[in-house]
Assembly symmetry: C2
Homo-oligomer: 341 residues x 2
């Protein structure tokens, strides 16, 4: 039989962070496409949009007026999915299982400039965002078991306002995906005596082929187990489990690598690259806080061009995640684009 | 404190089939939308499209000519994600975990008519599709551990050709989601001595509020734990674990309920309703085949109208599934639409 070549032959890879498998079908990238195509996202509009809920000085749906904020600015979501004081269900029905859910939701405007997404922001502006994440995480972490910090970028990723912003949903429960990562990281340290993501970072750096960017404090790779075509895992290389634990140096280095990674994304298909980005950090009641390493995931949907995306449907929904190009190819393409310093 | 009202207060519900939780935030449906909107899907085009790969008599990308098929028609996918004879990796690396994946992929044209989706097909045509599913499942089930039968309907759900069709991906491994359902159903029967979905069907019928359609052989509900806004779970009420085990009566009854459910979907927002639909059936090597009950999931993305969809991004990707209207409200709306017999 022919020898196995990962770039030619279907195979499965396992995500060590959540235990899930992904089917890799590299030969499939050749199929024709008569399905949906998106629109090329044009250069951004004005720096201030009078009809935008999030621009400084404008009124939000709640009627509240945004202050004239100079950098990153966080406020309570006017339509929170979680509420701090809500009555909880009282039922032990084994078939219709229900549990209370309390929490709070915040919005973070990345900058006063309506037109600048992360790759367009300068380093001090990104650093101001990092500090805002850290402060929100610290404050909310005192009250809630989990603080989920994320960004939906681009209309394709369900972003409901074009003003560059992210969100925080803090909850009194540990959500499914965080609970899975807590379990897997704790199990890894218990069986191997090492921090899972430290070992992954070490091996990825040594292999090199999936590395996109690296500096003294951070590593950005298309992980071995990537599901989305150009997915990136951004791993902290210092011993930190939460955003607020980052040193000033690590924060500067984070601003730098965030700018580089997002500029590579925009350059890849010459478009404002849509994605969902989410931080994972150690929750309260972790099975093993020392097993945690702070990290962020970038899940971008584009597959072949600025208009053709990957859909997570059908087999992916009902059977298993599936991808069409190898993580190694994706990383090589992200490394190959030219970005201005 | 106020009393808990599921239609007002955030809470979590658990999916018994895969063990996952979903956050329900019914109060959130009121938020404004400045994000992406889709297009209203117009009435279908001609019955035969000369540029369609799937119409009878036309050439596919492979060069092969489709026969002049009269009803449902299955053939090998020209761009299969799985191949029957492919070399497997040989590695026991604990960090970069890899496994072989072999299988085959088939396409099923639902009918020769380019313009008729399932709700437009008459009962004998849908019955021909059911028989085709059963035969494919039986034949492929002899060679492969899992037979995943599914349909991506509509451009919004990544359907790559407008000709009504579904797919089958058969694999020599049991995919993640099927393995999860196998584990949960086996555990349920071990601890309660009953088939999980029998108990669920009994309780859903008794409660009534989430029932959309029912007949002697099938029950269609917006399940207690629904994630997608108008998600439906279609449960077999006979003792069957696989499609090919369905009696002639159950097949006729399936054609009937499929037509009713998909007509309700189209009527809801007066549009050709997009969804991914997938069957789950007992795989080879099941922990407990007697614990299985054949069922299908419908995951439709539309939320508020023919153009505003739910996005599974951000919190949903990195934390936990989340929905904005209760399953009870969704079921009531699906029951309320008028459909011709
Ligand atoms: O096979 P198709 O129709 O080209 O592709 C579609 O279905 C597949 C299986 O659900 C998905 O992997 C693709 O993302 C989707 O576009
Ligand atoms: O809160 P927004 O921006 O209105 O909504 C967006 O982010 C939420 C959190 O990821 C998702 O639940 C919504 O589907 C998405 O459209």
């Amino acid at each position: 039989m022919t020898q196995f070549v990962p770039d030619d032959h279907p195979h499965r890879r396992q995500n060590l962070l959540n235990g899930q498998w992904v089917l890799v079908s590299p030969h499939r990238a050749k199929r024709p496409w008569q399905g949906e195509t998106g629109e090329v996202v044009k250069a951004q509009g004005p720096s201030h949009d009078p009809s935008c809920y999030l621009c400084p000085g404008n009124a939000r749906t709640s009627g509240e007026i945004n202050p004239d904020y100079p950098g990153a600015f966080a406020f309570d979501n006017d339509f929170p999915a979680l509420l701090p004081d809500t009555p909880g269900p009282d039922s032990a029905d084994p078939v219709f299982r229900i549990a209370p859910a309390r929490g709070t939701a915040r919005v973070i405007c990345y900058s006063p400039d309506h037109s600048r997404t992360m790759p367009d922001m300068d380093l001090p502006a990104i650093r101001s965002l990092v500090d805002c994440w850290a402060q929100e995480s610290a404050t909310l972490g005192e009250r809630f078991a989990n603080v989920a910090v994320f960004e939906n970028k681009g209309a394709m990723m369900g972003c409901s306002s074009p003003h560059p912003h992210g969100q925080i949903w803090a909850s009194d429960f540990v959500p499914t995906e965080v609970a899975d990562e807590d379990r897997e990281q704790a199990a890894w340290r218990a069986s191997r005596g090492r921090v899972l993501l430290d070992e992954v970072a070490e091996r990825e750096l040594a292999a090199g082929e999936r590395v996109v960017e690296a500096n003294d404090h951070w590593l950005a790779v298309v992980p071995w187990w990537a599901v989305w075509p150009f997915e990136i895992l951004l791993i902290a290389r210092d011993e930190v489990g939460r955003i607020e634990q980052l040193s000033p140096q690590a924060r500067d280095a984070l601003a730098e690598i965030l700018r580089k990674v997002t500029r590579r994304y925009d350059a890849l298909f010459n478009t404002s690259f849509p994605y969902s980005m989410g931080w994972h950090q150690c929750p309260a009641g972790s099975a093993d806080p020392a097993a945690w390493r702070l990290h962020a995931h970038f899940n971008p949907p584009l597959l072949r061009s600025a208009t053709v995306r990957k859909f997570m449907v059908g087999f992916e929904m009902f059977a298993e995640s599936q991808r069409d190009l190898t993580p190694e190819t994706a990383a090589a393409r992200l490394r190959a684009v030219e970005i201005a310093a």
